[in-house]
Symmetry: C2
Subunit: 324 residues, 2 copies
């Protein structure tokens, strides 16, 4: 009898792009298909595009759907994993959609996961966290998201919403309001967005800074600009960087005290400038977390780059199929 | 053939008292023995006292040690569970003792647990958290301790030290230093000790307050005094109570955002005044935690009173023996 080889598919559904890949059961990506999400055209278009990427990517590898044991789907927002419902997506018209039913014609088990959780799983199995058992993945870019891994599995909590680490209050008396409505959330004061705002405010004071030369308009100041200026010795940029690094360190110290993790993986845009923040963040962590817990944790940057979402979706499928 | 009935023993080792109990395999306590720890007499005395309480309590029930399937031991400090080592006890001379070896003559499996974790297990199985799967137990008295239950089991973390929730930084710019050395820890601003300090400071301003009449000396102001004055309508006491309730709410909101727990159980001395803090704390939680996560969580006070430690030790033994 001829045994057909088996595969999984991962779908990284983003606000602007869908990236879908086929992998073998060891998680090696064999082919990728990328399409614009075209979220403005409505949910039917987005759902059809998800299906199209799956059909196209398996065709590219020359396999049949029946050889796909499962499809992992990473979604940018809260999900109901058991029911297969996307609860809310800030940039997509998919609120309260039962995506598993919508993708029923694929006739393949579909495993839904929040994108930060999927990324955490991806880094755990294929990236920076391979040795980790208890790991916190934090992704710092426009906001701060998180995925918590306990005994090598995602911890979902009571309503599949655990890991909203970006909304822990770090500065309760702050006047900086978070998108969630609260004041002083970690992501409001320590994300890439927070870094840009802080740097812009500093530049507006009129002090001498290289950042003025790097942009033609204040609005162009972003994390990359601050990082570049910091590298070249700019004092204002360094101050903004230090402040955000300190706030990142406070939140990380809290996570260390709460979870006693063996590993923290830092992902997102900020991880690319981590070497500029590391010293200040580590000093803060040492000052604010318990010594023995600091000794227990290994803090590392993510390794999967722009593949983290799709590898996370692949890891989600493999985990649900008990193949990890 | 005659089958002997089987039991477990729980030992709640405290800084001043040892409370030891025998329970059946359903966790019903059949007898208790209590002794002073007499920590000042050194470790040999304390270890002998632990043994004595075990011998006495089983004698009281009229059973033999061979009928005891396991002994759970709750210890006030960090432990290495696998090795059986008490790492540090602030009030006992037992640092770095291998307590399992020291109790070897009992010839019975001994299961070590940190006291806050044991209390969490006790409340989960025999107290307020019977329905809980993912629960945070917080004990608020002189400090704030915690035990995290995930999928009905204690989450220990990489070094058996998870749950140091009292040392999450809530007010990084605070001048209030915590016993751990850090500034603005949750327990430094929201424990019973913090409440007493805040009330004393308010009384020292010389404003009119009932608290002056309730004590003969400022140093006597404690949580119970503040609670009594608050109940009788005292404004200064109410303000101190509200401030601490707000800080408690901030930390609880953080735990809700991070864990998405189904249950938070509030234990410790403060739980007895929780009805005076509940409204303010809940308002803070609603303002600072994500709505759907607030909906998911049930916040309740502990039920086991002064038996929480010994029932926690019993639950620890039953859990380790897979009898829960």
């Amino acid at each position: 009898m001829f045994l057909q080889k088996e595969y999984v598919v991962g779908v990284d559904l983003g606000g602007t792009k869908i990236l879908t890949a086929v992998a073998d059961l060891q998680g090696n990506i064999l082919a990728r298909v990328r399409k614009d999400t075209e979220a403005d055209k409505g949910k039917e278009v987005v759902i059809q595009k998800i299906k199209d990427t799956v059909y196209e990517v398996i065709e590219e590898v020359g396999i049949k759907l029946s050889q796909v044991k499962g499809i992992g789907l990473g979604v940018p927002g809260p999900v109901d994993i058991k029911k297969g419902i996307i609860k809310h997506t800030p940039n997509l018209d998919l609120d309260n959609i039962n995506i598993i039913e919508e993708l029923g014609e694929l006739n393949t088990p579909i495993f839904l996961e929040n994108d930060a959780n999927a990324a955490a799983l991806g880094e755990k199995w294929f990236g920076a966290g391979k040795e980790a058992e208890n790991m916190v993945y934090m992704t710092v870019s426009t906001g701060i998201g998180g995925g918590i891994i306990i005994n090598k599995e995602i911890f979902h909590g009571a309503g599949d919403a655990a890991g909203e680490i970006g909304h822990m209050t770090i500065l309760p008396d702050s006047e900086i309001q978070c998108g969630c409505g609260n004041y002083g959330c970690w992501e409001a004061i320590a994300s890439g967005t927070a870094l840009s705002k802080l740097a812009r405010k500093a530049v507006e004071t009129g002090q001498d800074t290289l950042m003025n030369e790097l942009v033609s308009d204040l609005s162009e100041i972003n994390g990359a600009v601050v990082a570049k200026a910091t590298k070249e010795g700019d004092i204002l940029a360094r101050e903004a960087m230090d402040k955000v690094a300190e706030y990142l360190g406070i939140g990380m110290a809290n996570l260390i005290n709460i979870f006693n993790p063996d590993t923290i993986v830092i992902g997102g845009g900020v991880s690319q400038s981590w070497e500029l923040m590391e010293e200040k963040a580590n000093l803060t962590i040492k000052a604010r977390a318990m010594d023995s817990l600091v000794d227990d944790v290994n803090i590392i940057t993510a390794q999967l780059g722009s593949d983290v979402g799709v590898l996370g979706a692949i890891a989600t499928a493999l985990a649900e199929l008990d193949l990890l």
